[in-house]
């Protein structure tokens, strides 16, 4: 599975691979949200965590439609399905590579963006922690959507419609955690729920996505 993870990582980091594009998109979305609200420091500090969360979700979303589609089109997915490893493990490696090239860079850059919005330090720290815990769930649930819409014409649109609702618990809890920290309350319950969602996704998503892939590769 290491082989597939490393291949996807290398492909994403290459020219036109999508990792750079995804990170730029992350910054642009957050900046646009910043520009489109009133330039009041207090308001920006309130909007900031939400903007970072939305930017992370959208950055994950734009590269999801290629997650299996590219391999499907060039025949790699057939060979991946024929390989000695179970398809579930292949899904997990691909979702991990997707997270490593979208969710992880967004998590690492989140403090920078939060500072841009003048989010208080405690809330910035909590927001970053929330992304570290919650962002893997975006790639995992996203993989299910990507597998379901495989081979569908203009599947990217359908994919967004399917996946966006699945992203919402992670976004809601991330915002709850950041708000709690900004109000100097304990954000740990929201963070634990975020972790629970990620762990739940880790347990279910590979099987659900693999089942969808089996139908679509057939």
């Amino acid at each position: 599975m290491r082989a597939l993870f490393l291949r996807d990582l290398r492909l994403a980091l290459r020219l036109g691979g999508g990792a750079g594009l995804s990170l730029s998109f992350f910054f642009i979305v957050a900046a646009v949200i910043g520009f489109s609200v009133e330039p009041d420091p207090k308001l920006l500090a309130q909007v900031g965590p939400g903007a970072v969360l939305i930017a992370t979700a959208l950055a994950a979303l734009i590269s999801l439609d290629r997650l299996f589609q590219a391999d499907f089109e060039d025949g790699s997915l057939e060979q991946i399905a024929l390989g000695p490893a179970p398809l579930e493990a292949a899904v997990l490696s691909k979702a991990a590579a997707h997270w490593a090239t979208t969710g992880l860079p967004a998590t690492l850059c989140a403090p920078l963006l939060a500072q841009m919005f003048q989010v208080p330090d405690a809330a910035t720290l909590t927001l970053t922690l929330a992304l570290a815990v919650g962002a893997p769930a975006l790639s995992l649930t996203g993989a299910v959507g990507a597998a379901l819409t495989l081979g569908v014409r203009r599947g990217g649109l359908l994919l967004s419609v399917i996946v966006a609702p699945m992203f919402s618990p992670t976004l809601i809890l991330g915002a709850v955690a950041a708000r709690a920290a900004a109000l100097q309350l304990d954000p740990s319950s929201a963070l634990l729920l975020l972790a629970a969602i990620t762990i739940g996704a880790l347990a279910i998503a590979p099987f659900a996505a693999a089942a969808a892939l089996r139908i679509n590769v057939n």
Binding site: R10, D74, L82, N218
Partner: protein, 233 residues
């Protein structure tokens, strides 16, 4: 290794593609699969590769059954389809190293086997050029070179000579022949003439002709309903 196909059938939706497909390919034999477009050659190869579950029947590689011991069966099969499974951003050497690694080639042998495969398919001159900048034939050869890495006894090849020039056709024929000489077997879906000795030829139209009528467990349930309706005057 011997491949035995027993009464295999496949459907797409409720349309029967083929049924009653039975044949045996002995070790050392390259069998040719022929039939007009849309007669189900690709569907049959994909079913035999284990990519789709056949509606009925079974295939046995040596003693491993597709229906019962899928993993063991699949370990004996190598499949090369229409698509080459080569990423435009990866070079042939990288692609082969990846597939070798993915298919659990021992790490100590990986480099050696990749270089051997590159040499046999005459890919060494452009082994480090991204596949997106290679010709269709060069990409095809890269995809086929995967067969040599996997060291599997039964090869299922879907139109393997497509896009290849005369030289490459000869090279591939030689490679298939040496695979057969080593006790391997191959099933090739072909349109044109085969550069190999055609030891056995199966025609898809023969299978579809002798097929039993399609039975649909869902629609069969309606037979009673239909039986009760009055025939039109």
């Amino acid at each position: 290794m011997r491949l035995e196909v027993k009464d295999l059938a496949a459907f797409r939706g409720d349309r029967r593609i083929f049924a009653g497909v039975s044949f045996v390919i002995e070790p050392g034999v390259a069998a040719t699969l022929r039939g007009p477009n849309g007669s189900g050659k690709t569907t049959l190869l994909r079913a035999l590769a284990g990519l789709s579950r056949p509606a009925a029947g079974d295939a046995v590689a040596a003693d491993a059954s597709l229906q019962q011991e899928r993993d063991l069966y699949q370990e004996r099969i190598a499949y090369a389809g229409h698509a080459d499974a080569v990423k435009p951003a990866m070079t042939p050497r990288e692609a082969l190293r990846f597939w070798g690694d993915y298919f659990d080639t021992p790490r100590a042998e990986l480099d050696e086997r990749v270089e051997a495969a590159l040499t046999q398919f005459e890919l060494t001159d452009f082994a480090d050029r991204p596949a997106g900048r290679l010709s269709a034939g060069q990409r095809r050869r890269t995809g086929l070179a995967r067969l040599l890495l996997l060291e599997r006894p039964i090869w299922l090849l879907d139109e393997p000579f497509n896009a290849l020039d005369a030289n490459a056709v000869d090279a591939l024929a030689r490679i298939i022949q040496s695979h057969l000489n080593a006790g391997g077997a191959a099933l090739l879906a072909l349109h044109g003439p085969s550069p190999l000795r055609e030891d056995a030829t199966f025609n898809m139209t023969d299978f579809t002709a002798v097929a039993p009528p399609a039975s649909d467990p869902f629609l069969d349930g309606f037979d009673d309903v239909f039986a009760q309706t009055e025939p039109l005057p």
